[in-house]
């Protein structure tokens, strides 16, 4: 079976600094794959290389076995790659409803239609409403995004990614910055994602990682340090050392 997402000898240099160091990674279809590593290890950089936000210095990225290294961001999205951002990237002036309608429209190739109003595209509206329901945003769908509590904004981050019906979903610290009492809501949503969607999760909370993932890749200084099943990685004394030494 071809991997859902694969990288081959991926290298990214920022000037003299090596942020991704020969990363060859393979994520199976439908996997729950966690990407961990200390701060500044290059986890977000890797996600940016997957989505096309950054162009690699060398190496390639494959989605379902097809080389997408040269494709712009929006075409990778069309091919089923979506992400959330570590720091919210939302349409602050939009309502959650408008944001999700936008995402659904673009997936349905309606985004260029310039004649009928938003409401006239009924299927897209219904789908957006269902998504808002699913992500517990129905009650605030008509409020300005910038006015929402942070936890709600995080949910909207995930909803926007999910609206493009991804086959591979990249979650960059989805619960980062969310106050304790709203955290479980975000985590439940992450746990309940459909099984056929391949999920790559970046997270510092080891408890969550161990309960969620079936495979873990550990990234240190831009390079893959080790990779394996949860049992293997969680028992690895070197991984413990990295986390106790630099992050705990």
């Amino acid at each position: 079976m071809t991997a859902a997402l694969e990288t081959r000898h991926l290298v990214k240099r920022f000037g003299g600094f090596l942020a991704a160091d020969d990363v060859s990674l393979s994520v199976e279809q439908g996997a729950r794959h966690a990407l961990i590593g200390p701060n500044g290890a290059g986890k977000t950089t890797l996600i940016n290389l997957f989505t096309g936000a950054l162009k690699p210095t060398s190496g390639s990225v494959l989605l379902d076995g097809e080389d997408i290294t040269g494709l712009p961001v929006e075409q990778r999205v069309k091919r089923g790659l979506a992400r959330t951002f570590q720091v919210n990237q939302l349409f602050r002036e939009f309502t959650p409803l408008e944001s999700v309608v936008l995402a659904v429209n673009e997936r349905k190739e309606l985004g260029g239609s310039a004649w009928r109003p938003l409401v006239a595209h009924g299927e897209a509206v219904d789908e957006a409403a269902a998504l808002l329901e699913r992500f517990k945003l129905s009650d605030v769908m008509d409020e300005r995004t910038s006015m929402l509590p942070y936890g709600r904004q995080r949910l909207l981050e995930i909803a926007l990614a999910f609206a493009s019906k991804p086959r591979v979903l990249l979650l960059d610290e989805p619960a980062a910055g969310v106050p304790e009492d709203e955290r479980h809501e975000v985590l439940n949503i992450v746990r309940d994602l459909p099984e056929d969607v391949t999920v790559i999760l970046i997270e510092h909370d080891m408890e969550l990682v161990f309960s969620f993932a079936d495979r873990i890749s550990v990234l240190v200084s831009g390079a893959l340090f080790t990779e394996g099943t949860v049992t293997k990685v969680s028992a690895d004394p070197r991984v413990k050392a990295i986390y106790l030494g630099e992050d705990a």
Binding site: A53, V77, S138
Partner: protein
């Protein structure tokens, strides 16, 4: 107008319509101030017969400013050279009327095509880069076009302007009259039709994607918005609008001055739009009214330095911020505030749940 009857027809729309649909419907519903504005503009034909020329000027400037709003207010593309499309349209209409066919509506299409093609071609230069590079690129293009028009005197009349433009009756039926009444009605109709079209465009998925590009380009790309294609499209549409505005000026004055391509056109239209407010389409119209009336009034009381006062107003708006200026109503008693809000936000169409 089809949009209007369509919305009015849905006042009694299905009670079961989802909340989401109702909320989206409100976004594109006609608002009270729009209706008042158009009624007033059409009533002016009969009520202000001696002010036809200044009203014509307002309508033309308004259309030009709406065109800038489409790229600046919606897609977030700044331009200091939008006058290029205005001037090109003015010349295209003048040359076409003079040498080929004098009927003005045909001329509008010719001007629209000329500006549209030029807009499409130059749109690729504003796709990338910062605001500063965009300002300089658009400014540079406008300067070049002005010089080209100046040099091609055999076609454009050069610095003397293009004279001898004979504009025929509109659609072969309506002669332009000495008082400018036909001219105003003509411009008003064009402005109204193009505003309605722009309204559809910005309220459709296309318009939402433009606002997304302006609001957060990183996320817009990440939900699949092809920004480059959208920007090319709206820049072309805006160029068409500006070209038509320029053509209206030619048709109502029977003359094209080299001044249509001057830098101050581009600067003025930006000023007009900022006066009226960006990003809601009517800023262009309101700005044109305020700018023209302010200019006429100030140039009577302080003929030498009216630009000083316009400049002062501009600085106040930008520094204090429109939201803060617009907050004067917070000094009113609460009950009055609520009533005021209801009137301003009143829309044709259905009410939201919980809103009486």
């Amino acid at each position: 107008m089809s949009t209007m009857s369509e919305n009015a027809g849905k006042v009694s729309a299905p009670v079961t319509e989802s909340v989401a649909a109702t909320q989206l419907r409100r976004l594109s519903a006609w608002r009270a101030f729009e209706i008042v504005l158009w009624v007033a503009a059409f009533a002016a034909i009969f009520l202000l017969p001696s002010h036809m020329l200044v009203l014509t000027e307002i309508a033309i400037v308004a259309l030009f400013a709406i065109s800038l709003d489409l790229i600046l207010g919606y897609a977030g593309i700044v331009s200091l050279g939008h006058g290029a499309f205005f001037g090109l349209g003015a010349y295209a209409a003048g040359i076409f009327a003079k040498h080929i066919y004098a009927e003005p509506v045909t001329g509008l299409f010719v001007a629209a095509a000329a500006s549209g093609i030029f807009g499409f071609a130059t749109s690729f230069l504003v796709l990338r880069g910062s605001d500063l590079t965009r300002l300089m690129t658009t400014l540079g293009i406008a300067l070049m076009l002005a010089e080209v028009a100046n040099q091609m005197a055999w076609l454009t009349g050069g610095a003397d302007g293009l004279s001898g433009v004979m504009v025929g009756p509109i659609l072969g039926l309506f002669e332009f009259d000495l008082w400018g009444k036909t001219g105003y009605i003509y411009c008003l109709f064009v402005l109204f039709i193009l505003t309605c079209l722009a309204r559809r465009l910005v309220n459709a998925p296309f318009g939402l994607s433009l606002k997304a590009i302006k609001g957060n380009p990183v996320r817009a790309a990440m939900v699949g918005v092809p920004s480059r294609r959208r920007i090319v499209a709206i820049y072309t549409v805006a160029a068409v609008y500006a070209g038509i505005a320029g053509a209206l000026l030619t048709h109502t004055t029977s003359f094209v001055s080299i001044d249509v391509l001057a830098f101050h056109r581009s600067a003025d239209v930006l000023l007009v739009l900022v006066l009226g407010g960006v990003g809601y389409l009517y800023g262009g119209i309101i700005g044109a009214i305020v700018f023209t009336l302010l200019r006429d009034w100030l140039s009577v009381i302080t003929p030498q330095y009216w630009m000083f006062w316009i400049g002062l107003v501009l600085v106040i708006i930008v520094v204090v911020g429109r939201e803060n200026l617009g907050r004067w109503h917070t000094f009113l008693p609460n009950s009055l505030q609520e009533r005021l809000a209801r009137v301003v936000n009143w829309r044709l169409g259905m009410k939201l749940r919980g809103e009486q």
